[in-house]
């Protein structure tokens, strides 16, 4: 998972300025897709409303963004994801540091984390409902569980991969513990930690929103599944567009803030 989905916005921007054919091709692809979509919508080949007209989606998108209740649901989802991220990242870091710092512990426990990490977390949702109720609590728990694994594994890996030379440099300067942590360990582990948080945010988003679609009465996931059950396709498309923009934007933002573009893609 660590290797995919890294966005390089600055690179893309530089390309757009320099390479005209690329820009043209991009515009051509987008226009083709939009025209094909509109033609499909007008042709009526598919079941009615499965492919709504772009105008309808645009109107619905505007209506959704202008609707104050949408922001209530957005706030609920953000709140759940925020708390889930705090819990998941903190516990992930504690466990990651413990595993990364001791070869013994990593031998004892890391295999479990490594194989549990990619399991579908949503199947824990029935248990989470029993433990934390049907409200936001169970969604926060889902997000936190999802977020915990990538953070823990990345922090543990990052801690092991700190260049021994850096540690020796710190020691030879007679740095005390605090200085070692703030000047050597944390800066050296910056990239894996931020990468873990980036992956964690992605899966926390999925965990929380899927939980909302399964059982809830608020949040964006609830809105999506409600749009499905009342068969309001333009609304569903507009919600998905908003969600993807938020998710991709957050991913790019974290990559950029963490300077992940500057390191070699592993």
């Amino acid at each position: 998972m660590a290797e995919t989905g890294r966005l390089s916005l600055p690179a893309a921007r530089a390309m757009r300025l320099r390479l005209r054919p690329v820009t043209l091709l991009r515009i051509a692809i987008i226009v083709t897709v939009l025209v094909a979509w509109e033609a499909l919508a007008a042709s009526g080949l598919l079941y009615r409303d499965v492919v709504p007209s772009l105008v309808a989606i645009g109107k619905q998108l505007y209506a959704t963004l202008a609707d104050p209740t949408f922001y209530f649901h957005l706030y609920t989802t953000f709140y759940e994801i925020g708390i889930a991220m705090i819990i998941g990242c903190l516990s992930g870091m504690v466990v990651g540091i413990a595993l990364g710092g001791s070869k013994f512990l990593s031998r004892a426990y890391e295999a479990y984390l490594y194989y549990l990490g990619p399991c579908p977390k949503i199947i824990f949702f029935p248990i989470m409902i029993m433990w934390f109720g049907v409200g936001p609590g169970s969604k926060i728990a889902m997000g936190a569980i999802s977020c915990f694994f990538p953070v823990a594994l990345n922090v543990a890996g990052g801690m092991r991969e700190i260049d021994k030379v850096l540690i020796r440099v710190g020691k030879s300067f007679r740095a005390n513990t605090w200085q070692m942590v703030t000047k050597i360990y944390l800066p050296a582990m910056r990239h894996p930690v931020i990468n873990g948080v980036r992956l964690g945010l992605g899966v926390a988003l999925i965990g929380t929103l899927l939980a909302e679609t399964k059982l809830s009465n608020r949040g964006i996931g609830f809105l999506v599944i409600q749009a499905y059950s009342i068969f309001n396709m333009p609304l569903m498309y507009s919600l998905l567009i908003i969600l993807f923009v938020i998710a991709i934007g957050a991913n790019a933002l974290i990559s950029r803030l963490g300077g992940l573009d500057s390191i070699r893609r592993s």
Binding site: F104, R107, A108, I248
Partner: protein, 333 residues
């Protein structure tokens, strides 16, 4: 070892740290176990907040307890690292803490500290395994999920690798769309499942298509990465032998990219599998995912927990198998 020592302070010996962490862990556990006592104490103070009713305080205490446990285990690890114990001790600790955890949970439920209508006895969960396997027709469910995963993985492999080759072949197309593919890989695609439900109906096709969508981007990206990373020397060797473009691809580029492609395949197939089981659970249709949903809706507690353990076991087995397969197929790096 030195890392941990530096992080947790060299002056304190691991032994002191271990004892301190264990004590705080036990205190926090006791706090969680006897919330009523704490509330009595709180009642004597001007605090309005009740420990028992505040989920967040409980959660915070539980988290602090986990952290204390982690510190305790770390310092134990440091103690052990000094004597440099054999690997088997570490594995034994891993398995031992698993078993110990179950025993503690069993005891806590017996004592009434944990509500037995929320967490069933671990022994009941184990006892429920045969029942779930026999009565719930697990084999055919497993085969159904495996079939879905198989069709999705065939589709995702063919389309993904072909897509990667296409992007490698046409540089302009790559420059235009690689960022987009990376963005798609970062998007929470599984949330499109209601849309797929509308398009494909509530059927196995939706599940297969969801698995396909989820696994596609990593395979494309990794294929592209593998092909682009072919060593210049190898390409030049092909040129000097005057290979045709198709020979150049099949004899030089593809074999050179194969290790990276396998990494992509493993990632993509794992994504597919996660999403297939997840969507099965969410739309209550099909194989193993639906099993959990059904038992949960029947409020068959032990059965729900057992089926979750079962699905996790199955997926872990699949992951291990895939990793072995990848290592077997990959030439030595």
């Amino acid at each position: 070892m030195s890392t941990a020592a530096a992080l947790f302070g060299e002056r304190q010996s691991p032994r002191t740290l271990a004892i301190a962490a264990l004590v705080s862990f036990l205190v926090l556990c006791a706090m969680l176990a006897r919330k009523d006592l704490i509330d009595q104490v709180l009642g004597m103070t001007p605090f309005v907040c009740k420990f028992d009713n505040s989920n967040y305080v409980t959660l915070g205490t539980a988290l602090a307890g986990t952290a204390a446990l982690a510190v305790f285990l770390t310092s134990l690890g440091m103690l052990f690292s000094r004597t440099n114990p054999p690997r088997s001790v570490a594995y034994a600790l891993g398995v031992g803490s698993f078993v110990g955890f179950f025993v503690i949970v069993e005891a806590l439920i017996q004592r009434g500290c944990i509500n037995r209508f929320i967490v069933p006895f671990p022994s009941d969960i184990i006892a429920a395994f045969p029942r779930v396997i026999v009565e719930e027709d697990v084999l055919s469910r497993f085969l159904l999920t495996a079939g879905e995963a198989f069709s999705a993985s065939i589709m995702v492999t063919v389309v993904g690798v072909a897509g990667g080759v296409l992007l490698y072949r046409y540089q302009l197309l790559r420059l235009a769309t690689e960022t987009w593919v990376a963005a798609v890989a970062a998007a929470p695609l599984v949330l499109m499942y209601p849309l797929y439900l509308v398009i494909f109906g509530r059927s196995a096709l939706t599940i297969v298509m969801m698995g396909f969508t989820a696994g596609l981007a990593p395979i494309i990206l990794k294929t592209l990465e593998g092909l682009s990373a072919t060593r210049r020397v190898l390409i030049n060797v092909g040129r000097s032998f005057n290979l045709t473009p198709s020979q150049q691809f099949w004899k030089i580029l593809f074999p050179a990219a194969l290790p990276t492609i396998f990494v992509g395949l493993r990632l993509g197939l794992i994504f597919s599998l996660i999403n297939i089981v997840g969507v099965e659970f969410l739309i209550n249709f099909g194989g193993l995912g639906q099993l959990i949903n059904e038992l949960a809706e029947r409020y068959d507690l032990a059965g729900t927990y057992a089926s979750i353990c079962f699905v996790i076991l199955v997926s872990v087995c699949v992951f291990v198998l895939m990793e072995r397969l990848e290592r077997w197929l990959r030439p030595a790096d």
